[in-house]
Amino acid sequence: MSSKILHQERELVNERTEALVMDHLGEVEDKVLALLSQRRSEIVGALEGLDLGTDSLRALEKSDSRLGQLVRLEGSSGDLIHPPLFGRLTAKEEAFLQRTRGLWDRSPGLTVSEEGEDPQGAWQPLFWQEGLYLVFWWPADDGTVVGVELDRVRFLADVIGVLPASDPSADVRGLSLRLRRAGGTALYSWGPEVGEGARPVAQRALAEPLSSWFLEAFTVSTASGDSLERVSTIQFLAILLATLLALVGSATYLWWESRRRLREADQRVTFVNQVAHELKTPLTNIRLYAELLADRLPEPHEESPGSSAVRQPGHYAAVVVGEAQRLSRLIHNVLDFGRSRRGALSVHRQPGHLNHKLREIIDRFRPALESRGFEVEFKTQDDELAAFDGDTLEQVVGNLLSNVEKYAAEGRFVSINCLREEDEVVIEVRDRGPGVAKAYSEKIFRPFFRVNGSLTEGVSGAGIGLALSRELARLHGGDLILLPQGPGAHFRFTLFCPRVHSGKEGS
């Protein structure tokens, strides 16, 4: 496994992980904001219709344990109405006035406004000593403004109440979250234990008025709770130890390393396999009905592109069928690749006429190739009834033609030649594209390998087509090789394909 490929894959995985984690943090943020929104509705409900005299405001403070202090100001001048400065103030009221002095001392006046619909008051965060205080300002009908402060500690306790608890037996690895204040102090954490000094994979400040609170997410990937960074440190130490122990030690380490990476890649392949399996069933239906549709419609004329035949329904149906089959082939590639990893690939021979099958396959590619200006030449000298696996033929020839389409478009020419040599059939696919450099002539058959450069840039493909095709060919008793003759790429696909005599079956 090339470490560069794995690195790229890890980057991709990280990006996706971060997006998913940010989504999750957004959900948590919503919970907290919902709590705040509920308080707001309750406060507005309590204030509407209330006579706003000092006594009833004090009674409201007393009756609701989630509220801290209430204050009432003259809307135009900002003058303080409640608590009455010339009356007897409780210690709580004194403290409140002290920390909000900056607000009501200011002149002229106070306007309460908020972005968005229907401003029925607005939240304001106040910072005093170490705490965040939330005050809700509500404009009364009589031109005064009432400020309602939430009990700071109680609000935090209620937030902790709605956030998830942890479960040490289950939380050994995975996502660990923390709510903290700007400035570092953690307020509440949940999920697996996180090592000291670990860095979050994602961070999100809450929306106003709680923008001084942050949510952080950490990933914990080993049972001991270490972050991914720690794993690298352990690797380094392992290498040091290995070199000290000499060659045998390092060889053992390298072997173990590659096995681990293989396992990781295998896990990803398994996932992809599962997805491909899911896709197979609907695709089978699409192919079936597309082919039935194509049968019912008149055949598109065999004319050059640009003519009106291209716009006929028969042509449309042919395109759908072709694409469905291409999709099908891609999925088979993936599934077969998975099977080849597990050593589970197999070949099922059926008696048939290979040249007919080959013609079918080429005819499916023809519309797409011809619309790109290709001349498609098909010659066959084999006419025998023989035993072969039609799927193998479809996969290999399909992959070769697909490559031609992707990489050899400038040559505008592909020829498929089929001949029989005793019990073997040889199929040669030739194009007039840029060909394959000698240095890569073997590498292209390796899984995931794609030649870097302007040719492959922007062309989709995972690089498993040729690797899989060779494996299938070999399973079929033949091989797939690249011949060195230029110009263009010249592939030779051989299969062991014994003739079937009537009454006898091939092996």
């Binding site: 109680r154 902790i160 109440g161 709605v162 942890s166 040490p168 953690a186 949940w190």
Partner: protein
């Protein structure tokens, strides 16, 4: 029904008979609580302004053994690293024993915290204790101490079944210092106060010598809960038993006491609990009243000069509470009157020893607290002197009022004296904090 009304009425009559003094006649009560306002003495010396002590006592009625208020409880356990081993095992055992005393219809939840919070069993009616007990047994020790989060989650669970007719309680255990999330005594006290206002009482149990008694004490005090010091893990079973005993004997909660002073009388200060003092009235809330136990609000008042033979209304005492047995709002109201005399002997002979014992106890606790602060500041000699004086004061009053509890308190103060040097101070401070809070809750003295 009829039986329930008869019993308290009879007790009220008896109380009236035994109350001393000519003027301050016995109180009224409905349901499960007996209210009584009494003065240090029903006579005051005439001629110049005087101070007097006024005590508003609330006594929970004795319950027949099969009657009690349903319970809504959250047990919050510390599973931080320092609890590893014997401590956690004992805590688990004690919690299990507590749960075994509950019945169907009670709500219980179990929360465990270290650096994270785990809800071992969410609040649910106790259909089968086994399920909850199993979860407790599976608990193992962890890392840090997110005490604030533990209490928050416990309170959240209790809120699910919060009801004026259930005993709503969080029992918090901790052996260490809060070090995750809000960790200061002030913040925990604020939380306690906020929860207390909703009728959720937090009782705290400090285990070993590593916890912060300031924090645990203030949290309990702010919500009107109990505070315990378990020196060794083996003490936990007994302490949980005491706490459950209180929880299972609540007869009234959400108690509002209001004392309105007639003209000529002014409040000077409150001894013990906190209360709101306005110019002509005092208001206090008490969270829970227990069967057979008396809690009180004690204050010092100033009285305008009267003349011999004069009789005057001093204050009107009112209490409103949720009677959790009768499941209704109850209350009582009583007038407190005083008479004036020239003779100190008359004042003496009309002394109410219960009121005066309470005064001595609270003053003793105040001085003990002051001595503790002095010792915190390093003023060891002054602290010792104050404790010595306090001990003599309590002993003298104990003899005068024939109150053995006061004499026991005197001995405690003498013992505190000997333990002010550094190694012993860590433990002694916890003992003193616990004792001071017991005084505020007027626990331990039986009248």
């Amino acid at each position: 029904m009829k039986h329930r009304i008869m019993q308290p009425l009879i007790l009220a009559l008896l109380a009236m008979t035994f109350t001393q003094g000519a003027a301050s006649a016995g109180g009224t009560n409905t349901g499960s609580v007996q209210l009584e306002g009494a003065l240090g003495s029903s006579y005051i010396l005439a001629g110049s302004p005087r101070t007097a002590y006024l005590r508003v006592a609330l006594k929970g009625q004795q319950l027949p053994s099969d009657v009690r208020t349903p319970v809504n409880l959250s047990i919050v356990l510390d599973r931080s690293g320092s609890m590893q081993g014997e401590k956690l095992e004992q805590a688990k055992k004690a919690a299990i024993m507590a749960i075994e005393r509950l019945q169907e219809g009670d709500y219980v939840s179990v929360v465990a915290y270290d650096s994270r919070v785990q809800v071992l069993a969410a609040s649910a009616p106790l259909e089968s204790a086994e399920r909850v007990i199993e979860r407790i047994r599976s608990l193992t020790a962890g890392t840090n101490t997110a005490l604030f989060a533990g209490v928050s989650k416990g309170a959240f669970e209790v809120r699910k079944a919060l009801s004026p007719n259930r005993v709503n309680r969080v029992i918090l255990l901790s052996d260490g210092l809060a070090n995750e999330g809000p960790s200061s005594p002030e913040e925990l006290a604020e939380l306690g106060q906020s929860l207390g206002r909703d009728g959720i009482v937090v009782s705290t149990i400090g285990l070993g010598l590593g916890y912060n008694e300031e924090l645990m004490g203030r949290l309990a005090q702010a919500s009107d809960g109990n505070h315990f010091f378990a020196e060794r893990a083996a003490d936990l079973a007994g302490i949980y038993s005491l706490e459950l005993g209180d929880v299972l004997s609540v007869v009234a909660q959400d108690v509002n006491v209001s004392v309105k002073f007639a003209s000529g009388t002014r409040p000077v200060r409150i001894l013990g609990r906190s209360a709101e003092i306005q110019e002509d009235h005092v208001e206090a809330t008490l969270n829970q009243l227990y069967s057979g136990q008396t809690k009180y609000l004690l204050m010092e008042v100033e009285v305008n000069p009267g003349h011999r033979g004069e009789e005057r209304l001093m204050a009107t005492v009112e209490a409103r509470y949720q009677d959790t047995i009768g499941r209704e709002r109850g209350g009582g109201i009583q007038q407190v009157r005083v008479a004036f005399t020239d003779s100190p002997q008359v004042v003496e002979s009309n002394r109410d020893v219960r009121v005066m014992s309470s005064v001595a106890r609270q003053i003793g606790a105040e001085r003990n607290r002051l001595a503790m602060r002095m010792r915190d500041q390093g003023k060891i000699a002054e602290a010792k002197k104050l404790l010595r004086e306090n001990s003599s004061y309590l002993e003298e009053k104990g003899r005068l009022y024939s109150n053995s509890y006061l004499i026991a308190d005197a001995e405690e103060n003498a013992a505190d004296l000997d333990n002010l040097d550094t190694e012993d101070w860590i433990k002694q401070r916890k003992v003193m904090t616990k004792n001071q809070l017991e005084a505020v809750q007027s626990l331990g003295y039986v009248e």
